[in-house]
């Protein structure tokens, strides 16, 4: 077995919201340039896991984190420039969020927040990101119209374009297909397959089939615990290590 570069190392992560323990000690690694799918029923801690990685968990009142999350071998909680850390990580959440700005400004928001003012550079970033998100052809003639006026599926791709605009090394998607029609979902999945060579992708999904289609490995979370993480061949085989995993992916519960 060849050794793989570890992009993210999570060890014994615990997260509380007030007195509710949302994550109860999870340890897992995310390999460089893989798609790791995270599946599990509601309340299993999937979204919390993502928020702990880019430290937006800190915006949630009464949240408390224990354990370590390492990105590229440094502990995210030792990071002095948390904004730079967040730019290393692209985040896409379930509901598409077009910011109340023009399409152009939506995508240029992150580079501008990082201090980029050069118009031609911004133009280039906007075009590249929108192309990567498979949205460029639909909006290239109306970059100045409002991002919030796009359709739901377009807004979700706009959200992805924004997440790609700061050139992330890691892309986290949290159930991106919930508010999106099946055709758009397939287009975005194609986008992800392309991006796999350039970045590490964590794909939180409710759709077991999506995990099977896209991921190299899949982690199954249940009730804040990591039940099992393994390659897709094992997870979706007839004999994953844990009976619970088998029941979940075959649909006999959850």
């Amino acid at each position: 077995m060849q050794s793989v570069a570890k992009k993210i190392q999570i060890s014994n992560l615990k997260v509380w919201y007030g007195s509710r323990e949302a994550i109860r000690g999870i340890s897992l690694d995310v390999h460089e340039n893989e798609i790791l799918a995270v599946i599990g029923p509601a309340q299993s801690g999937k979204t919390t896991l993502l928020k702990a990685i880019n430290r937006t968990i800190e915006f949630i009142p009464h949240s408390r984190v224990e354990g370590t999350v390492k990105v590229d071998d440094f502990d995210v909680r030792d990071v002095k420039n948390v904004y730079e850390l967040r730019r290393k990580i692209g985040m896409v959440f379930p509901m598409p969020v077009g910011l109340p700005l023009s399409i152009y400004d939506n995508v240029a928001f992150a580079p501008r927040a990082a201090g980029s003012r050069n118009r031609s550079e911004l133009d280039w970033i906007v075009e590249r990101s929108l192309r990567q998100a498979a949205l460029w052809d639909e909006v290239k003639d109306r970059l100045n119209s409002l991002g919030t006026k796009l359709s739901g599926g377009q807004q979700q791709r706009l959200t992805i374009a924004r997440a790609l605009s700061h050139d992330p090394e890691i892309l986290c998607l949290d159930e991106f297909s919930i508010a999106v029609d099946p055709v758009t979902t397939m287009r975005i999945e194609d986008v992800l397959k392309e991006l796999r060579s350039q970045m590490t992708i964590i794909l939180v999904t409710n759709l077991v089939h999506q995990a099977r289609r896209l991921a190299n490995r899949t982690a199954f979370l249940y009730n804040g615990n990591l039940v099992e993480i393994d390659s897709n061949e094992v997870i979706f085989s007839d004999s994953p290590a844990n009976k619970l995993t088998y029941d979940y992916v075959t649909g006999s519960f959850g």
Binding site: R86, G90, M91
Partner: protein, 308 residues
């Protein structure tokens, strides 16, 4: 097949039969509608009556001269320039103080403050302060600004008292407009590495400015109309200034004010012609109506370009 058809027939027949139950429902509907209409009329009629009555009574004095001339012959003649300009002074200075403090405080409370007992206490205090009677603000202003800060009874003391009075309402209105901006927008900004301030500056404030301005403007009419807070702190019965002078008062001068003027000539001065106080009332009312109209226009204008 037969049975289904019969049932369908039966159902469609129901459409044309008025059962007692349906009649009762329609009667209740009619009663509810009438009661609500009656209440709406009850509210609007006195308002229209008051406005018409004031205008009718004030008609003899209403003219441009009435605005631009000073009171004369012991308030029994002349116009209202001195109190009018005094009121404008007080309103502008008080809002110059309370608007920035109120907006910034609200931004802190809504965008930065952690949810703990201190912020909860402050929020509670803001809500309660907004409900304090104006006479209490007057006494506070007298103690704090006139006596303790040794400002004396002056324009600045009266303005600060009005500022204290309007502050909690401005904070409450601003907080409400800020929290109307969806949380998802903030999260989206934070996720791409924007600071809280960048988020506030580019997303939150531009999309709540309409509500904030409306909240501030509505306080203009409140500051202009209150008598009690300025009576002890800076407004006087009479102050001689040049008619038409737009900068007659210094910060530490005393001044006249419309609400106070109306109060004194209606209660303290004998033999005032009837039209005079009505004229002042119309000017005060007119100011309030104009200011509120401006705020409504502003709000509709800003809402029509709402971006989500």
């Amino acid at each position: 097949m037969e049975a289904t058809n019969q049932e369908a027939l039966h159902d469609s027949e129901k459409l044309f039969v008025e059962t007692p139950f349906v009649r009762r429902k329609m009667r209740t509907e009619w009663v509810a509608r009438s009661v609500f209409l009656l209440m709406a009329l009850l509210m609007i009629c006195p308002l229209i009556f008051i406005v018409c009555y004031l205008f009718y009574k004030a008609l003899p004095v209403l003219s441009l001269d009435f605005l631009l001339a000073n009171p004369a012959r012991g308030m029994r003649e002349g116009g209202i320039w001195a109190p009018l300009i005094g009121t404008i002074y007080l309103v502008i200075i008080s809002l110059l103080v309370s608007a920035p403090i109120g907006v910034f405080a609200a931004v802190y409370l809504n965008e930065y403050a952690r949810d703990n007992w201190l912020t909860r206490f402050i929020n509670l205090a803001v809500v309660n302060l907004a409900g304090i009677p104006s006479i209490v603000h007057a006494l506070f202003g007298l103690g704090a600004f006139v006596l303790f800060a040794k400002m004396g009874r002056s324009v600045i003391a009266a303005s600060l008292t009005l500022a204290v009075m309007t502050l909690p309402v401005i904070i409450a209105a601003t907080k409400e407009s800020l929290s109307a901006v969806p949380m998802a927008f903030r999260e989206a900004c934070w996720n791409v590495g924007a600071t809280r301030w960048q988020t506030i500056r580019h997303i939150v404030l531009p999309n709540s400015v309409g509500g904030i301005l409306t909240g501030i403007i509505l306080q203009v009419s409140r500051a202009a109309g209150e008598t009690a807070p300025i009576m002890f702190t800076g407004a006087v019965f009479y102050k001689a200034i040049a008619a038409g002078d737009i900068l007659p008062y210094g910060l530490f001068d005393q001044c006249m004010a419309l609400s106070m003027h109306l109060f004194t000539i209606s209660t303290q001065v004998p033999d005032v012609p009837e039209a005079l106080p009505y004229g002042i009332a119309v000017v005060l009312l007119g100011t309030v109506l104009v200011v509120n109209a401006v705020s409504i226009v502003l709000r509709t204008a800003l809402r029509s370009r709402k971006k989500w």
